[in-house]
Amino acid sequence: MAVTDTNGERRRRAPFPRWIKGTVLTLGSIAVTMLGLLFITFIIGRVMPIDPVLAIVGERASQSTYDAVYEQLGLDKPLIVQFLYYLWDVVRGDFGMSLLNARPVSEDIARVFPATMELATLGVFIGIVLGVPLGVIAAVNRGSWIDQIARVVALVGYSMPIFWLGLMGLLVFYGILGWVGGPGRLDIFYQDIVPSRTGMILVDSAIAGDWSVFWNGFSHIVLPASLLGYYSLAYISRMTRSFMLEQLSAEYVTTARVKGMSERAVIWGHAFKNIRVQLITVIALSYANLLEGSVLTEIIFSWPGIGSYITTALLSADMNAVLGGTVVVGLIFICLNILSDLLYRIFDPRSK
């Protein structure tokens, strides 16, 4: 309907409030993204040279057994029909049964994902706590020995194979010094003591108030989390440095200094404040990467997370598990994207 505004001009009222339109658009983009992700993953899974039938019946099965299972899995149907069946199940929250262990994929993911989430959260926390200050210091002291050290730290983080670094960490801190727990999430003495509420041992043991389990869990997680944190640190610190350099060369910083503001106020009150939005993207990406599961870290540390779950499923031709895991990873990226957008709106007045 047409209305008259304060200066007398006529304008049309939007048919829906902005927030509804925004929500619908967001949900629509999530749906399209998920559909695309599912379709691509499904097609890749079908054209890959792995055979789910062989994985089930074994190498020595007769042709008739093979054919029976082939039909049972619906592989005789056209690809698009298979995809539509799968899509219908996923929409109803059913990722199907694992082809190999015959358990619901959703149960498996609910078991392995908290392990990854716990590790990734601690890892990215370490990355932020150390990486952001390191990047700021390096930028403020550009070209100095501190900057060189920060560069070397980041370079090592980028270039050192995580497999090797993990094994060396285990050898030194567990094998030789005995400072941390070994591979696995807990020592055998502490397993199954606290009830699993979240699947995250540190959280569950804290809820149960069992601090001996908490500390044992911490001794096991600290090394792989530090390792992942180091890799995050390398990325976060370099990006922080780059963002800060850009800000520190801006005129408003010079103006602030000319006005006699303290260096701390210039760096943290002005320059750092302006890189928060960019940092959110960097941190969200880092976190999403860790939440995907670091396969090699999980293998070395016998950490039953989603990365090794998807990899094992892939090698075993368990496509339901692969697709289920991929959907979860896709959702993580989408959720973190939405979270980034929300934080943008909080920290960046222009986006309001």
Binding site: A61, A102, L170, G181
Partner: protein, 532 residues
């Protein structure tokens, strides 16, 4: 700036303090607990009617009893009474009547009865899962088990479709699928007529030395001892098998005393662990064989001289003493050592000159062949070694590496010139391997007998099929053993298979762990005799 430096230093110190201050519990495993690191990601189910993987067999052997079973203290003695205290064979050899031992109980407390045996064997046939062929090869079907597997009082009678060697039938009953389940408990957990299959995948209902506490896929299997086990309560009250994928991680755990046994150390870590304090290495022969096969559709490979020449172009000793050191031992027969009828004849060794002569006499010089290999490091290394030695005789060997789907699909459709692969026995009877390496009743493409290795290689076996069929019904154990020895002698000489190696499993364990038996080539690990 100073404050930033302080902040950075504080953060680093904080992490260091966290690392050093965390109270770490590093202790040896308790004397009544056995902790093992193993790769258990192959477990797909723990239902004995369905389980067909190595790690699953380890669990089943300790959780379920069978009518007859192997004594870990004397595997060479063959099957021994277990749930059946005795058995009688009918005059025509097609009916075996088992008398059930008194006083056995399931973990639930229910008594083990003939009805449980009848139910378990019928169930395995009716469910018709992958390993069901081990029983159905005797003519049992879902339709006839009502008449062929029958309990009567304290006895169970099984009637096969024709007379077989009793040793063949009883050996098959020692396989995982012969595990006897608690009918009452299983039926209480039946869903939609699945005979408890869904429930038994992740639970147990046995009468063995251990009961299943939990199986967390790709994480762990936990077993609790059965104090009422008929041979006495096991010394290890709890057995925990942890999934540790990486060899180096297994070794670290073992050397730190956090586990008692590491079952998947690679040769480098075995060599390293050998020098560690308190660690011993044990070797045990397993049933897995590594072989090369030649497609008889290939005009040159079908010549007897060429088949012989290929067997002289393999550097058995070179491989055994280098990259396969400690992991495989030379073995050129299709029955693994320790099997009934196994022989230790290994007549072939690398002899390029002799191979050249044989190739020349066959007029088959300068061949170009394709070998299909699945992407596993040791197989690829073997293929590369073959490529090298074949080249010395003028044969160009092109290596095609692929996934199981890619390579096996071509092998099963008789397309590969040469296949390099491994084979493990399905059950502890010589027929398991004889019936695939040397048995091929119909060599036509139309037969599509993809389960038979002889068929996959288009080999009509030159009369061995009949000899294998005769051996499987021979009731005299010694005569039967001799028959397999003769079959293997002919096989070595004429077959398009060059069996090369038998697997050795090297296990590293703490030196206080005693009486470990992994099951050799015939069965799986036994936890109940283990002490510390």
């Amino acid at each position: 700036m100073n404050s930033l430096t302080k902040l950075m230093t504080s953060a680093a110190l904080g992490l260091a303090v966290a690392l050093t201050a965390a109270p770490v519990a590093v202790a040896e495993t308790p004397p009544n607990m056995l902790v093992i690191a193993n790769r258990i990601d192959d477990i797909t189910t723990l239902d004995p009617a369905e389980s067909f993987e190595f790690a699953g067999s380890d669990v089943s052997r300790n959780v379920y009893q069978k009518l007859v079973n192997f004594d870990p203290a004397n595997l060479d003695a063959g099957y021994q009474p277990e749930i059946a205290e005795s058995w009688d064979v009918s005059g025509d050899g097609s009916t075996i009547t088992f008398t059930i031992r008194d006083g056995l109980t399931f973990h639930s407390g229910n008594p083990v009865t003939a009805a449980d045996v009848e139910y378990s064997l019928r169930r395995a046939v009716i469910l018709n899962k992958t390993p069901s062929f081990i029983l159905t090869q005797f003519g049992f079907t879902a339709d006839n088990v009502g008449e062929t597997i029958v309990a009567d009082g304290n006895t169970v009678t099984i009637k096969t479709d024709k007379p077989y060697a009793t040793s063949f039938v009883l050996n098959c009953l020692t396989a995982t699928i012969g595990g006897i389940v608690d009918m009452k408990t299983v039926m209480e957990n039946e869903v939609d007529g699945d005979m408890g299959n869904t429930w038994l995948k992740t639970n147990s209902a046995g009468s063995g030395a251990y009961k299943l506490v939990s199986w967390k896929p790709n994480e762990s299997v936990t077993l609790q001892s059965n104090p009422d086990f008929y041979l006495g309560a096991p010394a290890m009250e709890r057995v925990i098998v942890r999934h540790v994928q990486e060899s180096a991680s297994q070794r670290l755990l073992l050397e730190r005393g956090d586990i008692d046994m590491a079952r998947n150390l690679n040769p480098e870590d075995i060599a390293g662990a050998r020098d560690a304090d308190g660690v011993v290495i044990t070797d045990e022969l397993r049933g897995r064989l590594m072989y090369v096969s030649l497609n008889q559709k290939h005009p040159e490979l079908s010549k007897p001289e060429v088949r012989q020449a290929i067997k002289y172009l393999i550097d058995y000793e070179g491989m055994q003493n280098s990259f396969l050191n400690g992991q495989y031992v030379i073995h050129q027969n299709f029955l693994p050592r320790t099997f009934l009828g196994a022989v230790d004849e290994n007549p072939f060794s690398l002899n390029v000159e002799k191979a050249k002569e044989l190739l020349a006499s066959a007029g088959a010089e300068g061949m170009e062949l394709e070998v299909g290999v699945r992407e596993a490091q040791e197989r690829i290394e073997i293929a590369q070694t073959l490529q090298n030695t074949f080249a010395q005789a003028g044969i160009t060997l092109n290596i095609t590496v692929g996934t199981a789907k890619q390579i096996l699909a071509r092998y099963r459709s008789r397309e590969l010139d040469v296949y390099l692969g491994a084979w493990g026995p399905d059950y502890p009877d010589p027929h398991t391997n004889a019936g695939t390496f040397a048995f091929n009743p119909d060599n036509s493409d139309a037969a599509n007998a993809t389960g038979l290795l002889a068929w996959r290689n288009s080999w009509d076996t030159g009369g061995l099929t009949e000899k294998v069929a005769a051996a499987v019904v021979e009731n005299d154990r010694d005569v039967r053993s001799k028959m397999y020895a003769d079959i293997q002698a002919q096989f070595r000489d004429t077959a398009p298979f060059a069996v090369m190696f038998q697997k050795i499993e090297q296990t590293a364990q703490r030196d206080n762990v005693q009486n470990v038996n992994l099951g050799g080539a015939t069965t799986a690990v036994s936890y109940w005799p283990i002490t510390k």
